[in-house]
Amino acid sequence: MRPVLWAKGLFHRHGTFCLEVEDLKVYPGEILAVLGPSGSGKTTLLRLLAGLFQPERGRVEGGRAAYLPQAPPLLRRSVLENAAFGLRLQGVAKREAWERARRLLARVGLAEKARQPAHLLSGGEAVRLALARTLLVEPEILLLDEPTASLDPANVAQVEALLAEAALEGRAVILATHDLFQAKRLAKRVVFLYLGQVVEEGEAKAFFQNPKDPRTQAFLQGRLLP
């Protein structure tokens, strides 16, 4: 199968922090979890893959990507206008964009709140709205930065169901998360980052059952890494 995203020889420097990824391929319909302690470079990697940062060396080849930041910004507009925003950027006519946004809002359980200002939504609703907005632009690659970090279990379940659905639709989902259980539930493959380096990468099952690198073992056991 052809990868939908291929990062080759990436090197990026941000102050004293460096991120290096030799070779990373992501395939359509798979969920790849990016794990690592805070400051390991998960956000930087996602933003490089999304084309938001330009690497100092190397390149990213791939299809249309959309990125959902950890604290997704909401516009000072209604829920519906927020949802339709990505489509409007693509030049989709207002009526059609709103119609499609309404349908997706119904899918994420926000149909009732379509007309209210987005800033009145709860944290979980805001993430679902942002996810709907991201899905609406129909990306081939969905990059999500800890989308459920501050959500209650019910909202986590809803977001995870949407991600699983997106993968079933053939989208590649790259998910940075601290939540090992979530990675186990969702991911087909896992990449473990530590201090800007890919320490271990492999099938999720093998990764969790038999981690090879001592740093991965320490992380999975909840021990502090030096």
């Binding site: 999304a50 938001l52 990507a65 959309a66 959902l68 910004p73 925003f85 990505g86 693509q90 990306p139």
Partner: protein, 196 residues
């Protein structure tokens, strides 16, 4: 007159404020210049404009001195840095998240500008209120370039000065109340716009 001056100043000031915000705030020097512009002494602005527009000045051929046009120009010059600085300050607070949002959804850098404009609309209302406040309360420059000619270039502020000098304090106070009323009305409208 102050309303026209505010709109005239807003035409370049709003895009400038947004552009500087998109460019990381315009650098320390750019911001310093802009903020210094907020403290421009109106009389000095009036003096420079007078020199430019007087018959022997480089723009004397336009014949604008002692006309309402010159007064609008002076008020617009005073309102310009106020509006630009307010817009810059408000847009700077939102620019990074707006840029991240637009780019993360596959939008271009060119699409950041209109989004930032719309997202900064509350600041725009405050900026216009500040610019209007600066323009309507202006006396020095208006007197210098307008000449305070009765029924021609006399405005409320200069009329208050004249009435006070004549000892007609009741008339001066009444004019002051009218001025306050206009200022309250316009800023009230802008507050409603801001809430919308």
């Amino acid at each position: 007159m102050a309303g026209v001056a505010t709109l005239l100043a807003a035409l370049p000031a709003v895009p400038l404020g947004l552009w500087l915000a998109l460019r990381g705030g315009g650098g320390a020097w750019g911001r310093m210049l802009l903020y210094a512009g907020m403290a421009l002494p109106p009389v000095v602005v009036g003096l420079f404009l007078y020199l430019l527009l007087s018959r022997s000045g480089p723009l004397g051929f336009l014949g604008l001195l002692y006309t309402p046009y010159a007064m609008v120009l002076a008020e617009a010059i005073l309102a310009f840095p106020l509006i630009a600085a307010f817009v810059l300050s408000g847009a700077r607070a939102r620019v990074e998240e707006v840029r991240l949002l637009v780019r993360s959804l596959g939008g271009t850098e060119a699409q950041v500008f209109p989004t930032l404009f719309w997202e900064s609309r509350r600041t725009l209302a405050a900026a216009l209120a500040a610019g209007f406040g600066g323009a309507i309360s202006e006396v020095g420059a208006a007197t210098l370039v307008g000449g305070d000619i009765r029924h021609h270039t006399r405005v409320l502020t200069t009329a208050i000065v004249v009435e006070t000098r004549k000892g007609e304090l009741e008339a001066a106070l009444a004019l002051g109340m009218v001025l306050m009323g206009i200022a309250l009305l316009v800023t009230g409208l802008l507050v409603i716009l801001e809430r919308e």
